[in-house]
Symmetry: C2
Subunit: 433 residues, 2 copies
């Protein structure tokens, strides 16, 4: 018998779940035209059945018993938008075990257990799609998986956390402090009451795990991502950065050289001529460099009910098309390259350094000599006396050096008698070499 | 018998063809890993068999007889990178008739005969992919077809012609004239000896035909695109635009309101806060607005041997994957929406107008009164006396009006005794409403 509709079980009815229900209902006609099948929300798992919902007429579909979805043979596709690791993982695996297909927006889960889940899906001939897990409405996973399949991607840079990008953009535009802007972001709902996962870079690291695994075809683990958050970024850093032509962004970096890779998340000075420098507010963008294609960038909303739900439902459309063709579980390419992580002596970058020194004759010469002695050449240098003190501020941008060299020169600087304090250092992207 | 490799016939061995051969040869191992099959260039159609080639070792594959490719049953996929309408169309149709799959980079052909070719492919169960036809290395077609399948796209704006974007960027950066920059672009190989197809907007119009057909699921015809090129853009336009916060870009626009659409290509004043304003040089970008997803943008190289070839070979990977799964010819969704084009009374935009008037008291008041009498409110106004003359220049930006209203007010302005000349008018995108 020819099926005319697909039954969906929804795990979670929060922001994204609500968006999914809205989009499926608003675009039913288009879904039928594109897939040849209707899409029917069959059941929705909620924590509290009595909580009022902003989408009316769904009361008869909600349940607080997961097995009513996971064990219902009528349900073809499970959409997981409840978030968190447990029990989301158990639910997804149970759905796959029973031959259901899965669409998820869960970056935490995919960063930690993506390989396990994708392997199980492949064994069972089921689809698992997760476009919404990185950069909400931006279709970057499909681009990495399919559109650049013939290229060799060597660099992925992402502004993939809207909260921190909002905070840093606001600090840059308004001259406000980190604490002030964080409070404002919390009031506006752009930051959580406990903002750690965002401001400490954890959320971005999860997304970079997913992006680098797909882009490099190498199984990157979350704990291999070197992470530094934005709590230490000051107005002075931002102001001096601007003087030299840079904006500070919390940047996810995945880079491959000679088949060794590095993946990191850290506040980075991005030259204003770089396309990522003008990505502001809660927007996300992922910059991809391929040996053949060169520079590309994908820009869009990083979160939000409808953008994220758009990615979820577009994944659902793929599942339904695959069901029609009986080719589920075939689309994904498992990582097949050997993983070799770079040592610190192999990680090359320009760096921005800011320090306070004794304001005396010859100090700049001594400091620049120290860099020369360490075989580090300098691009830009600013020296500026600090008002009402005997001290001066020195800011400089190096040419490309290894992270190992950076650590050596930071130690040597700290040892100098004229050095009062090394205020900060940042990776630098873009600008003249 | 399990096939282990796919045979490709290449039509054309120019810039893109050379790139295709290079990428297939450099990435053979990755292609096998991703598709489970090797890719073998079986034959290459050239005009002149004796012409020296930059890729060595291909001499035994070249032929000047198309039938050696089109009639060879060993060839599974035909890649058409010869360009032009005839005989490319006949070759592609002959390949499809014989059950071969087709990948093409030919925007001219797809803009004119896309519907016919896709229909034939569907009948024959063959794939036709053409990602490289729009914005070279930028995977925008797949994004429109798949990633936004669940959304309702209402606006597509594209900087989709690298030559004109290079010319306008250079004019803006260097203050040089259109003629000077065009000559320079020709010398650098960024513009053809006969630049008409680029500078008159024809090339961009072809790409907008393809983008709007895919994005709106409506069969847009090339002759329905309203086109104006960049030959008339002057330094004065650029300078006054900058004063008001705008950059001039040759902008493809496809817009849908209440299920009526408009598609145009014309030089447009783009506010510097808009992500398209900073797309410079030969880069391309396509901005997509969806009701659910909101603002997104795709940015990358618009042309060039390797970027375009990357898109071609990624399409080839899709074909090969589909061959493995026996699902060729199933992926495409034909336009299914009724086409209703907007009248000029339904096309809304802000406009920039620049005119020379008699420099006498009250002239600005009379002109602004004329706009008020036509129910047009104004956003920005500049009046500036012209040196050594009795004349002044007036530049103004309207609020949203219809194209019909624009024509009415242009006629009324031309009728005024104080009006010496209406120098230019441009659509305006972005900035305050």
């Amino acid at each position: 018998m020819q099926r005319t509709s697909v039954n969906v079980g929804l795990l979670g009815f929060g922001t994204v779940g609500t968006g999914v229900v809205r989009i499926i209902s608003a675009h039913q006609e288009d879904l039928v035209k594109q897939t040849g099948m209707g899409v029917n929300i069959h059941k929705i798992l909620v924590r509290d059945r009595d909580k009022p919902r902003s989408v009316p007429g769904m009361e008869h579909l909600v349940t607080d018993r997961a097995e009513e979805i996971l064990q219902d043979p009528a349900i073809d596709v499970v959409i997981e938008v409840m978030g968190g690791i447990h029990p989301a993982k158990e639910y997804i695996c149970a759905a796959l075990e029973r031959g259901k297909h899965v669409v998820t927006a869960n970056k935490d889960l995919m960063a930690l257990y993506g390989a396990e889940i994708l392997t199980l899906a492949k064994e069972r001939g089921s689809d698992v799609f997760y476009e919404a897990s990185v950069a909400g409405g931006v279709p970057i996973l499909r681009a990495l998986e399919e559109s650049f399949s013939s290229d060799r991607i060597t660099k992925i840079m992402g502004i993939v956390n809207g909260t921190t990008n909002y905070i840093l953009s606001k600090m840059s535009q308004d001259g406000a402090s980190y604490e002030e802007v964080l409070k404002e972001a919390q009031a506006l709902g752009f930051a959580e009451a406990d903002p750690s996962s965002d401001v400490d870079g954890i959320d971005a690291a999860r997304k970079m795990t997913i992006l680098s695994t797909l882009g490099f075809r190498v199984p990157v683990a979350l704990e291999e991502v070197v992470v530094k958050g934005i709590r230490g970024v000051t107005q002075d850093d931002i102001a001096f950065g601007k003087k030299l032509g840079y904006e500070i962004k919390l940047m996810g970096l995945a880079q491959r050289d000679d088949d060794k890779i590095e993946v990191s998340v850290e506040p980075t000075m991005v030259h204003h001529s770089h396309p990522l420098a003008s990505v502001n507010g809660v927007f996300n963008a992922v910059y991809v460099y391929g040996e053949a294609v060169g520079e590309t960038m994908f820009y869009g909303p990083g979160a939000g009910e409808l953008p994220t739900a758009t990615s979820v439902v577009s994944d659902l459309v793929m599942v339904v098309k695959n069901m029609k063709l009986h080719v589920n579980g075939q689309g994904m390419v498992a990582p097949y390259k050997e993983k070799r992580m770079k040592e610190e002596t192999e990680k090359l970058s320009k760096y921005f350094l800011r320090m306070v020194v004794t304001d005396q004759r010859g100090v700049l010469a001594r400091i620049t000599q120290l860099f020369a002695d360490n075989n580090i050449s300098l691009g830009q240098v600013i020296q500026q006396p600090l008002p009402e003190s005997e001290e001066a501020e020195i800011v400089l941008v190096t040419h490309e050096i290894t992270k190992h060299d950076l650590r050596q020169v930071l130690l040597a600087l700290a040892d100098m008698d004229v050095t009062k304090e090394i205020k900060s250092w940042y990776r630098v992207e873009g600008g003249d070499e």
